[in-house]
Amino acid sequence: MLDKVIFFFFAGVAILSAGLMVTRRNAIHSAVFLITTLLATAGIFLQLRAEFIFIAQIILYVGGIMVLFVFVIMLVRLDVALHQIQFSRQKWVALLVTLALALEVGVMLWSSRKVPGQGFLLPNAVPAGKLPPNTEALAGRLFDAYLLPFEIASVLLLVAMVGAVVMAKKRT
C-alpha cells in the first residue's frame, strides 16, 4: 500500500511536470518542470532501492546537466523567442504519429500481461531486505564486468568536453 502511494505520487508528479515541460512557452519554466520530473524519477529510483542511481541522478542530472541548461538559457537571452510561434508546423502530424506509437506500445504492454508467469505484472523476484548493499554491488559490477564500457564512457565524456570547449570558444 505504502509502496503504491509513493509510486503513484512520484509517477504523477513526473508525468504532470513532463507534460508541462513540453507545453510551457518560456524555456526557463520548461527547465524547472524538467527538474521536477527528474527529481520525481529519482524518487522512483529510490522506491526501486537503487540508492546510487538515485543520488547519481540528483548530482549529475539535476545538479550538473540541468544547471548547464539553465545557465545556457540565461546566457542566450530568449526574450524574442517568447513572442514567436511555439510549436513547429508539423505539430499535428507529429502528435498523430506519437499517438499511434503510444497505441502500439500500449497494446503491446497490455497484451503481454496475459503471458503466464512472466507477463508484465511479474511480481518482485528478490525481497527488499535481501538485496546486497547497492553501492558496493554496483561498484563491483562496474569495475569488474563493465570496466571496458566504463573506460569508453570516460573517453566519450572527454571527447564531449573537448568538443564543447571548441564549439563554445569565441572565434577570434
Binding site: L75, V76, R77, K170
Partner: protein
Amino acid sequence: MQDDAAQNQTLLGADELVLNMGPQHPSTHGVLRVKLKLDGERVRGTECVIGYLHRGVEKIAENRSYQQFAPYVDRMDYVAAVSNGLGYCEAVEKLLNVEAPPRAKVIRTIMTELQRIASHLIWLGTHALDIGALTPLFYCLREREEILKIFEKYCGARLTTHAFRIGGLQYEAYDSFEKDVERFCKDFERRIQEYVDLLTGNSIWIGRTRNVGVLSAEECIALGASGPVLRASGVKWDLRKAQPYAAYDQYKFEIPVGTNGDTYDRYMVRMEEMRQSRLICLQAIENIPAGPIMGKVGKVLKPPAGEIYHSIEAPKGILGYYIVSDGTTQPYRVRIRPPSFINLQALDKMARGHLVADVVAIIGTLDIVLGEVDR
C-alpha cells in the same frame, strides 16, 4: 566610429548589456551614476552621469559676500573641508593682496595636513571595502576620529569645519593643540603599519589592484589628472613643492611617486603621502611662531576689480579657485577646479576592457567625492 563597431561585437553576438551602476549603488561613493556597456562582465565603455548632487555652489558665490561664501566651499569635498577652505581663503587673500601672519600659516598647514590624512583614511577604508576587505574601514575610521576630535576642539565642528578665515584664523590654537597633534602623529605610525599588514602584501589585494586601471603619465597629463593619480604614474608634480603656499616651504618632505600608474601604485602613493603628512605635522608643531593670527583685513572686503587664480594641492589633487572681482563686496564670478571632477574623466580610459569588479576598484582608486564633482 570604427572603434564602436568593434565594441558592439559581444561574446554571444547579442546586444551589449547596459548596466546602470548607481546613482543608488553601494560603491559609487555617493550619487554617481555610471552607465556600463557590458559584454558579459567585460566593460566595453562607460559613461558617467553626474549632477545628482549639484547645488550650484559657483552661482551661490555670486550672491554672497566673500566671507559669506567661505563656509560653502566646505560642502564641496566634505571629507576634506579644511583643504577647500585653505584654497579659498588664500585665493581671496591673493585678490586682496594681503598675507596671513606666519603663525596662522603654520597652523593652517598643520590642519590641512591632518585633513589630508583624514581624507586618505576615508579613501583607504572605502577603497578596501569596495575590494571586499571589511576590516580596514573600521580601523581607518578609528584614526580619523582622532583627527576629527582635534578639529572639534579647535573650531567646534568636525566635518564642515570652516576652520580658516580670509586673512588668517579666527580662533587661536587651543592649549594642548600641539600635544594632541603630536600624540596622534606618534600613534599613527603604529596604526599605518596595521593597514600595511592587512593589505600591502596580501596576494588577493595585489591581484585585484595590480595592472588594474593603468594610466600612463602622458594620459594623465592629457586628461588633466592631478594629485596621487598623477603621481602614481611617475610624474613628480606636487603644488606643495612646485608653488609653495601656506608654510610648506619651511618643511622637508618627499613626494612619493609610482611607476606603473595602476591601482596598486596609487594605493602605495597615498599610503606614503599619509606618512609624509605625518612628518610635516611633526615638524610643524615643533616650532609654531608666536604672533597674531589675523592679518590686516577690514570687516567689509572690497577687493580691487580684477581676477585671480590660486590653486593648492588638496588631498585629491589640484584644487583651483578662479575669482573675478568687479570691485564690489561680492565676487563677480567664482570658478572652481575640483580635482575629483577632472580625475573622474579618466574612468572611461581606465575601465575599458576590465571587469565590473575592476570598475568598482577604479572608482575607488580615483578617490572621488560627489559633492566636489557636482558642486
